[in-house]
Symmetry: C2
Amino acid sequence: MCLIMEAADDHVVDGGVLAAPSNFSMVEDGIYRSGFPKPENFGFLTTLSLRSIIYLCPEPYPEENLKFLEANNIKLFQFGIEGKTDPPTPMPEDTVLDALRVLVDVRNHPILIHCKAGKHRTGCLVGCLRKVQSWCLSSVLEEYQKNAGVKWRQRDLNFIEAFDTASLRQCLLSIMYRYHGYGFKRKRLVHEEENVQTLKPQAAKV
Amino acid sequence: MCLIMEAADDHVVDGGVLAAPSNFSMVEDGIYRSGFPKPENFGFLTTLSLRSIIYLCPEPYPEENLKFLEANNIKLFQFGIEGKTDPPTPMPEDTVLDALRVLVDVRNHPILIHCKAGKHRTGCLVGCLRKVQSWCLSSVLEEYQKNAGVKWRQRDLNFIEAFDTASLRQCLLSIMYRYHGYGFKRKRLVHEEENVQTLKPQAAKV
């Protein structure tokens, strides 16, 4: 008799094992992060039942990865953020905000965020998400550093600290309105009554 | 207007933030890991809606942590594994197996695993879980090392590599039988037909 967890179900060949992409972690229910997935990681990725990928590099997506996405009906959201360090390119706040909008939209989940190493660009995006989730800054930075290892960059920490999450509010609000009352299953977004008098908090759960 | 994700809902005081326990990470849907939670982390932990905690140290659980558990109806599973390094205590396979049995039982989820630093004892337990999930050894060890940082120990890697997951099969089988047909929601365990003729794979999903 052999029992295994569902994640390892159909995608393990006889005696086979699952190779996670480098620097893989689960961020939240339905949100994952990693370094660049290689073909040997496709079996593992299939177990995540991904609906989307957020790719944070400007370079074109490799042909074999595109084929994998097509075969598994995975949507690609590319946000071309330069990874050059000489001279260092500042993290573009608007682009990170655009990526964050895609990330918090549960219609895109399960979703994988990746760049090249899964450390800096991915780390900044996840750090901004944590701020939206009201994580305190030291927890946010600890998570960034754990995933960046010895390659952590002070300017990434500065970017995360300075990032203003207020600009995301309108986006979250629009998602909520779109799903309000339509029986959407995932209760990930809540509404705190402040200026809106027409919706009560419990009614605003999507 | 203010919109925040559900995890940050009721437990944020005005203008407040959530402090995750040190070395906190999500392992799987419903499984978390961290270092020892302090009272300042209780607000954060409440957002996880924990049903159980696996505590891997022999020292008694602090009174204030016990009160927090009682107030939030969280069950404590303590497995006293020595953390001494001089002389180093070998990781006890039977105890890790007992903890793993609790960990894979979805009736205990959401569950938090912690020891003191969330690096060695917790890392070994999570490593064994990954083997049950058919992760390849290099992925398992990369995750262990990412969470242990510079404190990683070769003997932990050896322990994880040598750990025999076959002994967990009977436990998983018993959980499956207990829930088979009872409409249990979480489809985390699957059954691969091998010697059991009375159950078909699809019928065996719990």
